[in-house]
Symmetry: C2
Subunit: 276 residues, 2 copies
């Protein structure tokens, strides 16, 4: 694929603003997803002006890729995005994400992978399979997806990075979304010098992100088909619907108006909400 469309816009998979290790990792992750899921994902049908958009002054750029799951799949849709915004400080904010939302043919967890880089030495990192059931009421769900997998091992590896500390989202809702094995870290390498953040991304984060994605692919996206009863299906649908709209509202709805202006933000949210 060429690095620019014929009209000069960057393609989604160019990640023109992400730091090199995040760009390489995202290309790897998306290629893993496309190889393993193949025709289970339908082509992106977002309108051109939502697939790529920028603000009037050209200081903010973003691209979205949304692929719905095929009717036979357990995936509602996958949403991937990158967002670049020059900050008044001279630094730039780069947010890169890959998320998957499941449909009610399964109760298996969703997927969230997100990198929020606000300077060459500062990163917020989220890797998780957000549960779709109350873990207190469903201890067998906790066992299947979290206790019996390698997710906690990955979390512990990243937790040991001396520059990393647990990150607490300002949104109480977002805090409630994550599983007990979620990687939700802030990495600050401003005192470590050199390209330490790049090293952490290549040595530790890339491996953990691949493992989380592989766990999700094997156990959730390509896991055994389940028999979900009608009552449970209705409950999953209601919960997923709240999760989708609240996640996108909190994540995208709060930052887009500031970065791209209200009109552009409204247009993007309107298109997304019609799909949810």
């Amino acid at each position: 694929r060429s690095s620019m469309d014929s009209d000069g816009r960057p393609g989604f998979k160019d990640f023109p603003y992400a730091s090199p290790p995040i760009k390489d990792l995202m290309i790897d992750l998306i290629s893993t997803v496309e190889n393993r899921l193949d025709s289970l994902l339908l082509p992106c049908t977002l309108p051109q002006d939502v697939q790529y958009f920028e603000n009037q002054s050209g200081t903010a750029h973003a691209s979205l890729l949304l692929r719905s799951g095929a009717p036979s799949s357990s995936i509602d849709f996958m949403l991937s995005s990158w967002l670049h915004c020059e900050l008044p400080t001279g630094a730039a904010l780069n947010i890169t994400s890959l998320s998957s939302y499941m449909n009610s043919s399964t109760d298996a967890p969703h997927l969230v992978i997100e990198f929020i880089q606000s300077s060459p030495t500062s990163l917020v990192l989220i890797l998780d399979l957000p549960p779709r059931k109350d873990l207190i009421l469903h201890p067998e769900y906790l066992k299947t997806f979290y206790e019996d997998t390698q997710l906690e091992k990955q979390r512990q590896v990243l937790d040991k990075i001396s520059e990393a500390q647990l990150y607490v989202s300002p949104s109480l809702y977002i805090r409630s979304v994550f599983s007990p094995t979620a990687v939700v870290l802030r990495v600050d390498t401003s005192s470590s010098g050199g390209d330490r953040l790049e090293q952490i991304l290549r040595d530790d984060v890339s491996n953990a992100a691949q493992e989380v994605l592989n766990t999700w692919l094997s156990l959730c996206a390509l896991g055994e088909k389940q028999d979900i009863g009608d009552d449970e299906k209705a409950c999953l649908k209601k919960r997923d619907s709240l999760y989708k709209s609240k996640s996108i509202e909190t994540d995208i709805g709060s930052s887009l108006p500031r970065m791209f202006g209200q009109e552009k933000a409204d247009r993007v949210l309107e298109v997304l909400q019609a799909i949810l």
Copy 2:
């Protein structure tokens, strides 16, 4: 109340091994509870050998106080405990807790206050109102008990203590229990010198613990009576039952055998499980 029973055993409210600020705080908290709830709590009916027990070599001592809620109350029972154990290192482990478990006449949150001190400079601190509903499925519950209260403000105050860092329980189940405003911190003052931990307990923790307790008293234990439907009641009962047995199993079941021997531990757990 005298500091010793006639047979020389310490009374529950003597807290004979807790550090002075924790002893003072616990006496305050229990007195607040008893004044505000008064006859809504029934007297403790635990057998004497479970109200106070020690190990054969006299290096471990513990006391439990369990008061059931009156039939008209929204409290199932309150459980308070202290536990002291000499460590091979020469230091001592002191665990002091005050928890309340609600009944199904309300969906209001439980209460957990716990101090785990393993040296004069090391403390794990837990203050929370654990939710009784899935917060993703019930955003109005998140709003009522967490977004619209002062709990997040208290959490932020304690989070700013420079010697404090977020504590991650080894149990994935215990991690899942807490609310998004839970205070779950490890405080290590070994590099601060002097009586810095005592100062933190008196200046910051005491106030936060009182605020969390007052929020729980006003909003949960003495809050407006609710109309809980039969289906919801059944769901709360099932969830609470799992929460109670899992919490006590993880908390007490894992430490008692090591500290007091299997026989004593079995006796205490048997009595508690009969009440749950």
